[in-house]
């Protein structure tokens, strides 16, 4: 029943104060009471838009009261506006074409800008965000990848850093919420030191924040809830503070609710990807004495007020010296020769990875708009030709050039504002589609809206567009040659040549810009194709997965976990439609990783040895076959590989080849020490194929699988292979889990295909967006070329007529036209290629398996544009050959 929100917004902002309530109120009242009931919703909405659009048109006075008397709304501008509108109303086809072209260009820009605004421009909701950095262990000179921090390291940093006044830590805990009456649900919980929100500068909207002693073992167990969880799970209950909840098997008291904007980590921080549902305080005092290799914290530090970055760097350098002196084995060994503590500003850490993508998309969409502008400028130039007489007459009658210029610019402004308004509508439709396209991999994308900032952006872009498309034609028209225009029929005079040059130059630029966008899209497309060609090492089709976290409180012994895993596997395997079932942790490509250093028997293992590093996983028997990971040698785990018997492992071909040679069989029977505990050797019983466990773009490291029954885990993923459609298994699988444990939260159920697709969802998003822009650029450039070729032919009707009259062959005429079109295209292609190559380093970071100067892509795009330019010249060339010399000469 509500009128269109955007129209209402426009009215609220543009109707003068004195009339706003009366006018808008009448419209709304009439709309609700009369228009909707009598005409239906769609017609009513159209009616409302019509009233909105016509409101400003009717506003200027039409009475003949003298200028400056009466209502004061009558002005040159209003007169120009009315004149422009009448003009456009007389040429609806031309007007629609121009407005639509601009609307597409501006709409695409508005859509991308709303994403940029939501992701990059909107400030983080923390007072001290700009002074906050993350501190990481770095073992590589580049600092990439950053490594987490161990609790004793955290305490050293907290107590010894001088340039930072606050240091906090955060780590992930998968917790289950049960016992509050609702369905058990897996929540994203983070364990944080109690000073985290003080450091960031965020206060709860309800209740209190953490006190410094909240995280001590002796204190009451408390939690802070996120606004989202509070609303979703507790309906915004205002009495939530003081309520006791069962979180992961422990009773905790809610002390407050954070504001809606605070979901720290709001954007992914390395492996802390999901936004928080709740926060659990922990001072980490109990972990102070833990091993320094047990690195699982992300550490935040806030720069002291007034401290310089140089002081911070010096401080971190000092820490390096102290750490290396105190623990040379750990920080000064051969494998840690480049070790240091790096700091990454919070903002860069959170959104650094999406910035290049959004920059590329903004640039591409900006080029599309420029191409659209060129088309419109060309259309206006063409129309200007028809209005030469009008301008000449007005000049002759004493109109000032500035006055004509002003009127022509008003006309182009009207067109661009109309295009902007329509573009805004397109953006409102397009943004939700865009948000759906990205499967949740881009931070804050879901928060993208067409809001006031987007409106301001569109207003600005429309204005600039109006000037850009209008200024060249306006300048040319306002300088119309009196004599030439008034004296009829002197086509091709000097004035025409200048115009021809302008149009040719514009369309050449257009081809160059189209090439740039097409090359970028081509590179991303080929890169994506390369990603899709990568064999992940397993067969995802037909596999359903279910990720689980067992509450540690109830599953407090290895046997309970083993019994659960066995029972669930048996139940899952017995489900109708299930071919086989197993379990693993971590599930490949699901975003979780586990890696470490191991010893190989017979290789040096002292403190100065460079230990091999690899990825770890635990699996139940049957995992490899369920996932169709090939067993190259030896055997799979069996139900007999349990605790108490000598330890066994399965390694991947990468590890086997590196340490024991090309023949996988030789690896079987060899021993390695996966956990670094002295004497804790495990025998290799099998060799399997390598798996891309972090996604196709990363080759990954050597892999070690331990039997889940020897090394029980409270987190695991059940994998089942189905004979038919795996997604259909979801309900039965959930029931199977609940049959084993009624209170177990299950909410991460995805087909393996989905898991794999979501790893490359970002790349797909980038590619699709650029493909759309490239298609738009190509179509617009083709239209531009066609328009200019037609124009050039019509300009030279007389010349061509003479050629034909003097015996010129039609093929000569055709060649002439085609040659001209090709010349434009080749010039554009050359310019575009040079610019693309110069800019290529900006896209290289987004590519996989392809160089940013990939000549295949450049070549195909150039060829495509040349073919298109031939196509665009074909029609005009044919028309040129059919010119009747008699008529051409008489005209």
């Amino acid at each position: 029943m509500n009128p269109p929100a955007l129209a209402l917004w426009i009215l609220e902002h543009f109707v003068v104060d004195a009339m706003r309530d009366g006018f808008v109120g009448d419209l709304v009242e009439h709309y609700r009471r009369d228009v909707v009931p009598t005409r239906g919703l769609i017609a009513a909405r159209l009616w409302f838009w019509r009233e909105t659009i016509f409101a400003p048109l009717a506003w200027p006075s039409r009475s003949s009261t003298p200028v400056n008397a009466g209502d004061g709304l009558m002005s040159t501008l209003a007169a120009d506006l009315r004149f422009a509108l009448r003009l456009f109303a007389r040429k609806p086809g031309f007007t629609a074409l121009v407005v639509l072209t601009l609307a597409l260009g501006i709409g695409a820009n508005a859509a991308i800008f709303s994403v940029v605004n939501a992701v990059l421009l909107r400030p983080l909701p923390y007072r001290f965000a700009d002074r906050t950095a993350l501190l990481w262990n770095a073992y590589d000179p580049s600092g990439i990848p950053p490594f987490a921090v161990a609790p004793p390291e955290y305490f050293d940093l907290k107590e010894q850093l001088r340039a930072y006044d606050q240091v906090a830590a955060i780590s992930k805990q998968s917790s289950a919420i049960v016992g509050d009456g609702g369905e058990p649900e897996q929540l994203t919980a983070y364990v944080v030191t109690p000073n985290l929100f003080d450091l960031l500068g965020a206060a709860p909207r309800l209740g209190r924040g953490f006190h410094l002693d909240d995280g001590d073992a002796a204190s009451e167990r408390v939690i802070l809830l996120s606004h989202a969880l509070w609303m979703r799970r507790f309906g915004g209950d205002s009495n939530i503070v003081g309520k006791k909840l069962n979180i992961g098997g422990r009773i905790r008291t809610v002390i407050g609710v954070m504001p809606a904007a605070v979901r720290f980590p709001d954007h992914p921080i390395s492996w802390l990807r999901e936004r928080a549902d709740l926060w659990i305080p922990n001072s980490l005092e109990a972990s102070r004495g833990e091993e320094r290799g047990n690195q699982y914290l992300a550490v935040l530090a806030r720069l002291r007020e007034g401290a310089t970055p140089a002081q911070a760097t010096a401080d971190l350098g000092m820490m390096r010296q102290r750490f290396r002196a105190a623990f040379p084995d750990r920080y000064a060994s051969v494998s840690a020769k480049d070790w240091r503590i790096t700091s990454v500003p919070l903002r860069d850490q959170m959104i650094g990875t999406v910035r290049p993508v959004l920059t590329l998309l903004s640039a591409a969409v900006g080029l599309v708009l420029m191409i659209a502008c060129v088309n419109v400028a060309n259309l206006l130039l063409a129309r200007g030709q028809l209005r030469q007489r009008e301008m000449a007459v007005r000049l002759a009658l004493g109109a000032a050039r500035a006055r004509l210029l002003r009127q022509l610019l008003t006309e182009s402004a009207v067109l661009s504002v109309a295009g902007g308004a329509l573009g805004l509508v397109l953006a409102r439709v397009g943004v939700p589609a865009l948000v759906r396209l990205d499967a949740g991999t881009m931070p804050m994308l879901a928060e993208t809206r067409v809001d006031g900032a987007v409106f301001a952006f569109v207003a600005l872009v429309s204005m600039l567009t109006g000037i850009f498309v209008g200024v060249v034609p306006a300048l040319q028209q306002s300088q119309a040659e009196l004599r030439g225009a008034l004296g009829e029929g002197t086509h091709g005079a000097g004035d025409g040549r200048a115009r021809r040059r302008t149009r040719t130059a514009l369309v050449t630029a257009q081809v160059a810009m189209a090439l740039i966008v097409l090359v970028a899209a081509g590179l991303l497309g080929r890169s994506f194709a390369a990603l899709e060609r990568v064999q992940p090492g397993f067969v995802p089709d037909g596999v359903m997965t279910m990720q689980l976290t067992l509450p540690r409180v109830r599953y407090d012994s290895a046997y309970k976990i083993m019994n659960f895993a066995q029972a669930l596997r048996e139940r899952a395997a017995a489900l109708p439609g299930v071919v086989e079932a197993s379990a693993v942790y971590p599930l490949p490509m699901a975003g979780e990783g586990w890696s470490g250093s191991f010893w190989v028997e017979g290789e040096p293992s002292g403190p100065n040895a460079e230990l091999p590093h690899g990825e770890y996983a635990v699996a139940l028997p049957g995992y490899f076959h369920t996932m169709r990971i090939p067993l190259l040698a030896g055997r799979d785990f069996t139900a007999a590989d349990v605790r108490g018997i000598p330890k066994v492992v399965i390694v991947d071909e990468t590890l086997a080849r590196k340490h024991w040679g090309a023949n996988a069989q030789t690896a079987v029977g060899k021993r390695l020490n996966p956990n670094g505990d002295p004497g804790d050797w495990a025998t290799v019983i099998g060799v399997v194929g390598h798996v891309h466990s972090h996604g196709p773009q990363e080759a990954g490291e050597a892999q070690i699988y331990q039997p889940m029954l020897q090394r029980p885990q409270t987190v695991m993923a059940v994998v089942v292979r189905s004979g038919s459609s795996p997604a259909l298994l979801a309900p039965a699988l959930r029931d199977a889990a609940h049959a084993v444990d009624r209170d177990l939260p299950v909410n991460k159920m995805r087909t393996m295909d989905d898991v794999v697709t979501s790893v490359i969802a970002r790349q797909r998003f980038n590619m699709l967006m650029l493909a759309v822009f490239a298609a738009a650029a190509l179509v617009l450039a083709t239209v531009g070329l066609y328009g200019v070729m037609s124009y050039l032919v019509s300009q030279r009707t007389r010349e061509i007529g003479i050629r034909i009259a003097l015996g010129g062959q039609p093929s000569d005429v055709r060649t002439m036209v085609v040659r001209e079109s090709l010349l434009i295209a080749v010039t554009g292609v050359v310019i575009g290629t040079v610019v693309s190559v110069a800019l290529s380093r900006f896209v290289s970071g987004l590519l996989f398996g392809i160089a940013a100067t990939d000549w295949t892509t450049y070549g195909s795009v150039a060829l495509l544009l040349l073919v298109v330019s031939l196509g665009a010249a074909y029609g005009p060339a044919r028309r040129a050959t059919r010119i009747d010399p008699v008529r051409a000469l008489r005209e």
Binding site: N2, D21, G22, G25, A55, P60, S61, S64, T65, G70
Partner: protein, 107 residues
């Protein structure tokens, strides 16, 4: 100053006379549509009312906001003595011009 009033302004002023206390943009538009069959946009009606107000022929005041109007106030209009004189004059002029032309202009 005797204000000249245009044809649409006449219609609006006459609608105000007819509607009395119940005159606002929407009712004026309806009155004109009902009696003359002329469909106008709100913008036209409002700009005319605004113009008549600056000419000093009508007066306006704001009413209470209502839910039906999305919480917006209603702007009431009323013709004043100056306005009544202007419309009388204008109508008299028309009648005088039309007198005796019955057959030629009236249906």
């Amino acid at each position: 100053m005797d204000a000249y009033i245009g044809e649409f302004e006449q219609l609006v002023l006459l609608a105000l006379v007819r509607l009395g206390d119940d005159a606002y943009g929407l009712s004026v538009q309806r009155e004109i549509a009902a009696r003359t069959g002329r469909a106008t946009t709100f913008g036209t009606v409002y700009s005319t009312l605004a113009r008549l107000e600056t000419k000093g022929l009508v007066e306006s005041w704001l009413g209470e906001p209502t839910a039906e109007r999305g919480g917006r106030r209603k702007k009431h209009f009323q013709i004043n003595a100056e306005g009544r004189r202007a419309i009388k004059q204008s109508l008299r002029a028309i009648r005088q011009m039309a007198r005796g032309l019955d057959g030629a202009v009236e249906t």
